[in-house]
């Protein structure tokens, strides 16, 4: 069954943009308020969707993968209109799982705060400014909900346009350079992703590829086929690299991160909040939604390489942050450092650790977003962010001091606040990645990766606390003629500013104390959609001869899935092993708990995915994507 809810959420800010152009010129005040109102409406819808999601969400990872609240319509290729191009099935198709619903809500949550925070700081071209912020929200929400690869790419790419203008028009002195660098950098990565998407489209169709006989870019279908081993290793490699080019620049990973500090320093406060809070997550989300599920082999092989880049980034940018005198740049570098952890967690390829990475995304969005807000408040009052020119603000601004310390602690991972949860899980995952303690196959990382990353955490604490100390404590130091309260600000935070920060702080605390509701949905989504571990265990048989295979076939209730011959070793995997594990022992089969990747040659998924099981149907709803419970 289709539900319009997600489509309504994604495009509600667009409606807001149109309405923003109704009031006559000069009514800036009402434009500000209505922009805030529209974004709050979107947030309300998102919360409604969240409740609806929890109402129908699966409570465990048994059964087929599910995306909920789906909505689709034909876009490219239509059976009726183009009789001869009926072999194209590229849809407008949205849906959410446990990971994307939270990122969507995070976006909808941060946007009203970002809009509200710019009430005093943006004085020129107000209407355009708020229109662009709302347009940006459309793109961001779309990325998290897209279930079609092309749709994903379109929203992913579209986010560049509004942010380009936001930085370029309302940014600092070097705004033009910053905006151009931001745009060209990210575009140069994502065009390779575009080529890869189109290649996948063709690959799904052609006889030398998946041979489906029709073009599809459905993320779920392609992931299923990839995990069943239908995408050859060499193709996976190229596609992984092309997608990684797009995502790594967005994250940003170490050698291609240089656009970010510049973009952050020049962007207006709201731009920075959204950039750090949500936009960078598009990269990590892309890895998690596309690279990991679709290219398991390549991910497994290249994970150490990506992890090394992430660690290099963690250490390098932490050191770079240490020597910054511009507070905003310091936080920007800390962002790069933190997202390195996120990547580490993802590529540890362990379920709980991937969860850690996902919750890290949410946490980073909250605490870094809040830090940028606070820095924006300081800048509005003192027109400088230079650490040498301001100091001892605690004497004058107790509220600001409280929040800055609070979010700094959250950012460096103080237990009890949100940052700790993600950091702990990620480090644990990295360290124990190559073990099989959790009865899953060894992942690619290990202690060698965890130790330098831990050093990064220490460095993070050092530079963040050092920044707090310089800005907040010690003798009061202010540039002349400040604080500037001409725009209706007071010396300390105003009620509006406090009101913006309080919900973020509450969420930080709540996630820090009780992260389970999030982690539970993440676990299900990770198992089903990211690492795609089968619900029941997979068993592999080594050196099994024909006789053994025959026996296995006969052994009830086991069901032989598939067997292939690899280097004269017969490897058979069987599925739906009943409660009677003794039967397997009798056959002399060593049970190996399958994990990512399950598609080593000759080892096949349970609930076997064959091409026919995802074959083309009249409607997407009839196969694995069915949103059964929402009917």
């Amino acid at each position: 069954m289709q539900t319009w809810l997600l489509t309504a959420i994604i495009f509600s800010p667009l409606l807001g943009v149109l309405l923003l152009w109704l009031p006559p010129r000069g009514s800036d005040r009402s434009i500000r308020r209505s922009a805030l109102f529209y974004s709050v409406v979107t947030f309300g819808l998102a919360v409604f969707a969240l409740f609806k999601f929890y109402g129908v969400a699966p409570t465990d990872s048994q059964g087929d993968p599910k995306y909920l609240l789906q909505h689709w319509s034909y876009w490219l290729g239509d059976v009726e209109v183009m009789g001869d191009v009926a072999d194209v099935e590229i849809l407008y198709h949205v849906g959410v799982d446990g990971i994307s619903i939270w990122l969507m809500v995070l976006t909808a949550f941060l946007m009203p705060l970002a809009i509200w925070s710019s009430f005093t700081s943006v004085r020129t071209r107000v209407r355009e400014y708020f229109s662009l912020l709302l347009l940006l929200e459309v793109g961001l929400l779309g990325v998290f909900c897209a279930m079609d690869l092309l749709l994903f790419y379109i929203f992913f790419e579209f986010t560049l346009v509004p942010l380009y203008f936001l930085i370029g028009i309302w940014g600092g002195p070097a705004r033009r350079k910053a905006a151009n660098k931001f745009f060209i950098f990210t575009l140069s990565g994502s065009v390779f992703m575009f080529a890869a998407v189109l290649f996948l489209a063709y690959y799904s169709y052609s006889d030398s590829g998946l041979a489906l006989g029709y073009i599809t870019l459905n993320i779920e279908k392609l992931s299923q086929l990839a995990h069943a081993g239908f995408i050859s290793t060499s193709v996976q490699w190229w596609l992984f690299l092309a997608f990684a080019a797009g995502f790594a620049i967005k994250v940003p990973l170490f050698p291609v991160h240089t656009w970010l500090p510049l973009a952050h320093t020049e962007a207006p406060t709201a731009g920075s909040v959204i950039l750090a809070g949500v936009l960078l997550k598009l990269g990590t989300y892309g890895f998690c939604r596309i690279s990991l599920p679709m290219f398991p082999h390549a991910t497994m092989t290249l994970a150490p390489f990506v992890a090394c880049l992430a660690i290099a980034g963690i250490i390098y940018t932490a050191l770079a942050a240490w020597v910054q005198t511009d507070v905003k740049k310091l936080v920007a570098y800390s962002s790069v450092s933190h997202l390195g952890f996120c990547i580490l967690g993802l590529f540890s390829l362990k379920i709980t650790r991937v969860n850690g990475a996902v919750i890290y995304m949410i946490n980073h969005g909250l605490s870094t977003g809040a830090l940028f807000l606070i820095i924006g408040y300081i800048y509005e009052r003192y027109h400088t962010r230079d650490i040498n020119e301001i100091g001892g603000l605690a004497r004058k601004m107790p509220w600001l001091t409280f929040f800055l310390v609070f979010f700094t602690l959250s950012s460096i991972g103080l237990p009890g606040l949100n940052g700790f949860v993600g950091e702990f899980l990620v480090l644990l995952g990295t360290a124990t990645s190559n073990t099989t303690n959790d009865l899953r196959a060894a992942g690619p990382l290990g202690y060698g990766y965890a130790i330098p990353a831990a050093i990064g955490i220490i460095l993070g604490a050092v530079y963040m606390l050092w920044m707090c100390q310089r800005v907040l404590f010690g003798p009061l130091k202010e540039p002349p003629n400040t604080p500037d309260t001409s725009t209706g600000l007071s010396a300390d935070l105003t009620g509006r500013e406090i009101f913006i920060l309080v919900p973020v702080a509450v969420l930080c605390l709540a996630i820090g104390v009780y992260p389970n509701p999030l982690l539970d949905t993440f676990t299900i989504a990770t198992e089903q959609h990211v690492l795609r571990t089968p619900a029941s265990h997979s068993w592999s048989v080594t050196e099994a001869g024909d006789d053994l295979q025959e026996e296995i076939k006969r052994a009830d209730p086991m069901r032989l899935v598939e067997s292939t011959s690899v280097n004269n070793l017969e490897r058979v995997s069987v599925g739906n092993v009943g409660s009677d594990d003794l039967s397997t022992k009798k056959l002399g089969i060593t049970p190996v708990f399958s994990s990512y990747p399950v598609t080593t040659p000759g080892m096949f998924l349970l609930n076997p995915v064959t091409k026919s099981s995802v074959a083309k149907t009249d409607h997407p709803e009839t196969d694995a994507m069915t949103d059964g419970r929402s009917r």
Binding site: L76, I184, V191, Y202
Partner: protein, 523 residues
């Protein structure tokens, strides 16, 4: 063939011809004193031709006589050229001085008539005349377009190079006649197509020479590197609205002629020709984009951008209809889709330049565009949409066009001999997108980010704004709903698919003549 059938089949062309002659006449009468009477009459003529085209529906391809063949391709080109033609007239509404308006509108109609005839030509001579009919009015249009010496210079430059290219084209066509013994492009009898040129993948030397010269002559028309040198000067010299036409009309005619040329050998291109077009495409888009980066003059920049777009379209041409049907497999359908979209977005960009002026006349440099967005948000928005569409950025139709071309480039199976080079070419096109972002962003940045102390003078009037609005809206609509145009484009290639299959069923007439030549000359 009864005469009445000929007249009804050619009704859109006849309407254009009669309309153009009528406008020439009206231009000399007192009616011309009314500011907008003549362009309005011109739009009426185009609308009438368009209505007739659409009402008559898709031709069944059975009409082939007098060097003409009314095929599904003809139908597509007719309505695309006429629709964009209406936009061109809207944008050019107020352009020339009062006394010359009759000639001006009539010449635009004649040039469009040339495009329509190119699409129906099935005889090399008719094709040649049709292409000249496209070009000759444009030489005059440039000179008429504004009272500036640069316009006269551009006109003369365009004329000489155009005449040269016409000579090359005619020379090449004579060789094709020599190779096939007929001036017919394809034999059509009762809707069945058979080829006049050999389709073995190895053209005889005579046919090869002819093929190369025709390719060169048409490369002039579509402004492919190294035959592009006139484009920047001409674009800079002509008034902006007519430049929007120059970027589209000759290019459409040129590409339609190229499609006919390739279809004449059943798209079974010799490997040398494949590599030649490969290099032509790669160099054209790269050179166009890289040189555009260095420009400060907006019109020169857009001229190089239009050269780069020729490169993208050459990629589509090279892919051809071999891999399957529909724009995601068929390069020709992708090309037809792209060129229609390109016509509108290119016209939109030039219309925006035409809609403002500075003290010294038209907007020339990027600095002249500073601050347009604060002054006229709607015009700047339309410009941004058109420019992002040129860049191939979602959510615009330019993105869909690029998507079709690239997907078609991937659609050869891996064991196909030319699959790898096409893959590389697709990567080159993708890299070019990034390069092009470098200068397209400068245009948008000038309008939005740049600041100007003096406001620009609005020029052009409301028809220009409407033309611009339609162009930019079309970009958004075609993004959301590309199926209509894509379906039309894919149906338009039906005739080409027939000629491809004709290459395999081999009902050849007179083709051995060319091969016999080879035998005689080879030792």
């Amino acid at each position: 063939m009864p005469a009445s059938n000929l007249l009804t089949q050619l009704l859109p062309e006849l309407i254009l011809l009669v309309g153009a002659c009528g406008l020439l006449f009206l231009g000399a009468t007192r009616l011309a004193a009314s500011r907008s009477f003549l362009p309005f009459a011109g739009v009426l003529v185009l609308v009438a031709a368009l209505v007739v085209t659409i009402r008559r529906g898709e031709p069944d391809g059975s009409f082939a006589a007098m060097g003409l063949w009314i095929s599904s391709l003809t139908h597509y080109v007719r309505w695309v050229a006429l629709s964009v033609g209406i936009l061109i007239l809207l944008v050019n509404w107020y352009l020339p001085v009062q006394e010359e308006r009759g000639e001006f509108v009539a010449l635009i109609l004649l040039s469009l008539l040339g495009v329509l005839l190119t699409a129906s030509a099935n005889d090399w001579l008719v094709l040649f005349f049709a292409i000249e009919l496209v070009s000759i009015p444009t030489y005059i249009l440039i000179a008429l377009s504004r009272l500036d010496q640069r316009a006269a210079e551009a006109s003369v430059k365009y004329f000489f190079l155009g005449a040269l290219s016409a000579a090359i084209l005619a020379f090449g066509l004579s060789f094709l006649y020599g190779a096939s013994g007929t001036t017919q492009i394809q034999h059509i009898a009762g809707g069945v197509i058979s080829l006049t040129l050999p389709s073995t993948g190895e053209l005889g030397s005579i046919a090869m020479i002819g093929f190369l010269f025709v390719l060169a002559g048409l490369a002039f028309k579509v402004a492919a590197v190294p035959f592009h040198v006139y484009a920047p000067d001409v674009y800079e010299g002509a008034a902006a609205p007519i430049t929007g036409m120059l970027g589209f009309v000759p290019k459409l005619a040129g590409f339609v002629a190229l499609i006919k040329l390739f279809a004449a050998i059943g798209w079974n291109l010799p490997i040398e020709i494949k590599w030649l077009v490969w290099i032509l495409a790669a160099v054209t888009m790269t050179a166009g984009n890289v040189i555009a980066l260095l420009q400060d003059n907006v019109k020169r920049m857009l001229a190089y951008s239009s050269i780069a777009h020729t490169g993208y379209m050459l990629v589509a041409l090279l892919i051809g209809p071999v891999a399957g049907e529909g724009p995601m497999h068929d390069g020709v359908a992708a090309l037809l889709f792209y060129i229609a979209v390109y016509g509108a977005m290119n016209l939109g960009a030039f219309a925006m330049i035409a809609s403002f002026g500075r003290k010294h006349g038209e907007l020339e440099t990027l600095d002249d565009m500073n601050g347009i967005a604060s002054q006229a948000p709607a015009v700047a928005l339309a410009l941004a949409i058109c420019v992002f569409s040129l860049m191939g950025f979602p959510p615009t139709a330019g993105f869909i066009g690029k998507l079709y071309i690239l997907t078609a480039a991937f659609s050869f199976s891996a064991d196909h001999a030319f699959a790898q080079p096409l893959l590389v070419l697709a990567i080159v096109a993708v890299v070019n997108t990034v390069i092009s972002a470098g200068y397209y962003l400068r245009i948008v940045a000038a309008a939005y980010v740049g600041k100007s102390s003096t406001p620009a003078n609005p020029t052009g009037g409301f028809t220009l704004r409407w033309g611009l609005a339609v162009c930019s809206l079309a970009m958004l609509v075609l993004f959301v709903w590309p199926r209509g145009l894509a379906g039309q484009a894919s149906r338009a290639t039906a005739a080409i698919h027939d000629s491809v299959s004709a290459a395999h069923t081999v009902v050849r007439v007179d083709t051995d003549f060319g091969n016999a030549q080879v035998d005689r000359t080879s030792p």
